[in-house]
């Protein structure tokens, strides 16, 4: 059997896109009521669980740790991950983190991952989704890799680990690529990589016995001035709700709707 792995999966608590989402407050930050585990993170968690299960699961010494940074509610993203199957959780929370941009977030997460590495064996693999479903910048995997001096493999649509090597397939514009990197590595995965499992009743019960470690900035050796709005390198100066699109002309096809469509396009100078 392959060597066991210690995997950290980044999970984010994001506003549910099924409802209206809002930007509020002096820092123009996202309102996090009605939040859920970011859907795209479920693919990263599934990939981690599959790698660990191929290696004999928790009994063989594999670790799958769900790590979330965010206010008190973000612990729910960790809890959901434990119900789905993560073996343990870490919640990084500190009032000073509020309003962190990608650079400040990657700084705090890198410190948290170093802390997790110092606790027992070093982390082999950091897995993330392809983007958060709120900020959607996709910057964290690259910035985390730069801060940790790990290779990055982003937008993986398949992933294998053999010995010390990660092999992944990815789409890159006009090309499909096969890429290889040495562990430890940061890998972001797309929604093409697998079919995430759902938590079942047994998983929900088992999650109650799993450990969630709470970390503050002091625990990971980060100064409050390095994160949050103060430590961010970008500032959102204004945010205006776009007027919702309103419905225009709706017609029912009476046999000539194709012609009417072309008339409409011609009137809009779109032909």
């Amino acid at each position: 059997m392959e060597e066991t792995l210690k995997i950290v999966v980044l999970v984010k608590h994001v506003p549910d896109a099924q409802f209206d989402r809002h930007i509020t407050g002096p820092g123009n930050t996202t309102d996090r009521d009605e939040s859920i585990l970011s859907e795209l993170d479920e693919y990263a968690l599934e990939a981690a669980l599959q790698l660990a299960e191929e290696r004999g699961g928790p009994k063989a010494g594999n670790e799958v740790i769900a790590l979330s940074m965010g206010p008190s509610g973000a612990v729910n993203a960790v809890k959901k991950s434990l119900q789905i199957g993560a073996y343990s959780g870490v919640h990084l929370s500190d009032d000073a983190l509020a309003g962190s941009d990608a650079a400040a977030t990657s700084l705090a997460l890198a410190a948290a991952i170093r802390h997790i590495s110092a606790d027992g064996r070093p982390v082999d693999l950091v897995l993330t989704g392809m983007a958060s479903t709120d900020g959607e910048t996709s910057l964290i995997p690259a910035q985390l890799a730069e801060r940790l001096s790990f290779p990055q493999v982003t937008f993986a649509s398949s992933l294998e680990v053999s010995g010390n090597q990660v092999t992944a397939r990815r789409d890159a514009g006009a090309f499909s690529e096969t890429v290889e990197a040495q562990l430890p590595a940061v890998v972001s995965v797309t929604d093409q990589i697998n079919e995430p499992r759902y938590p079942n009743f047994k998983g929900i019960l088992a999650a109650k016995k799993k450990k969630i470690a709470s970390l503050s900035l002091a625990d990971i050796g980060v100064d409050a001035a390095q994160v949050g709005l103060a430590g961010s390198w970008t500032v959102v100066e204004s945010a205006e709700a776009r007027p919702p699109r309103t419905a225009g002309t709706i017609i029912t096809d009476d046999g000539d709707a194709g012609i009417k469509l072309v008339d409409f396009l011609a009137a809009q100078k779109l032909l």
Binding site: E180, T234, R245, D253, G258
Partner: protein
Amino acid sequence: MANALVFIDNPGAALKKSSLELLTIARSLGETAVAFTGELNDDVAATLGAYGVTTVYVPSAEDLDNYLVGPKAAYLAAAVAASGATAVLLDNSPEGKDIAGRLGIKLNAGVITDVVGVEADGTAHKSVLAGSYNTTAKATTPVTVLSVKANNVEPAPVGAAPAPATATVDVPADAIANSARIAARTEKPVSGRPDLSEARIVVAGGRGVDGDFAPVEELADALGAAVGASRAATDAGWIGHDAQVGQTGVTVSPQLYISAGISGAIQQKAGMQTSKVIVAINKDAESPVFEIADYGIIGDLFKVLPQATAEIKKRKG
């Protein structure tokens, strides 16, 4: 000393429209230099000159393309230092954003992605939360890194101009350390249609096409449009994942988006609702897509699309 540095990554024989857009935005910020990779042919150099570029930086190493992101970010950081630029502009492609992210950490520079407009002072405009908010953002650092979405400015050359000077930038020797290596690369089949993220017009099909994309493709070809799809259609395997428009696919913002047989759930809406004009064709009058369509047709796409295609061909002669 340049004010703005544009990263142009291996363009091949000619510059892409999105690169010309970046050069046009860069010029509005001041003197523009380019950090280039790949072969710099005379035509490309002349085009760069025509867009007002004064200096083109090329890397000392040629194997940057064999590694993922890391070495290109290291090269670009060295080019920023050489040029003295305070604004760096990149494509908003996945790789462009990855390079922007790493560059930001290397330079202690704020990174703003998904930019749709840039003011002279570096303030960036973007649309967030699936197009429900317009925001302005600014880097608070000496250097600003911006990844800019296609189709937001018209490329505008300055006219006759001297060819730019070229200068070689040393790629740090340790740039390939800790980088993933590209072991194999295969070219995907070329459709002959415009690139989805850059197309002026997109025609997209969803569950309603029921496995048959022909009417969607024929209308797209009559309009010179790119073909898109909903997640339901790509998950069903009716069309490649590259065509997926939506939160987990490509975000498009064309002049015209024609949605055929797509209900318009939030996943899809997130990828297209900043389109200038939206046309929807769906059998189900209750489809949410009709709430955001400028022109909606309740009808059978297998009747409406071929009729429109034939009419367009007739009018175009």
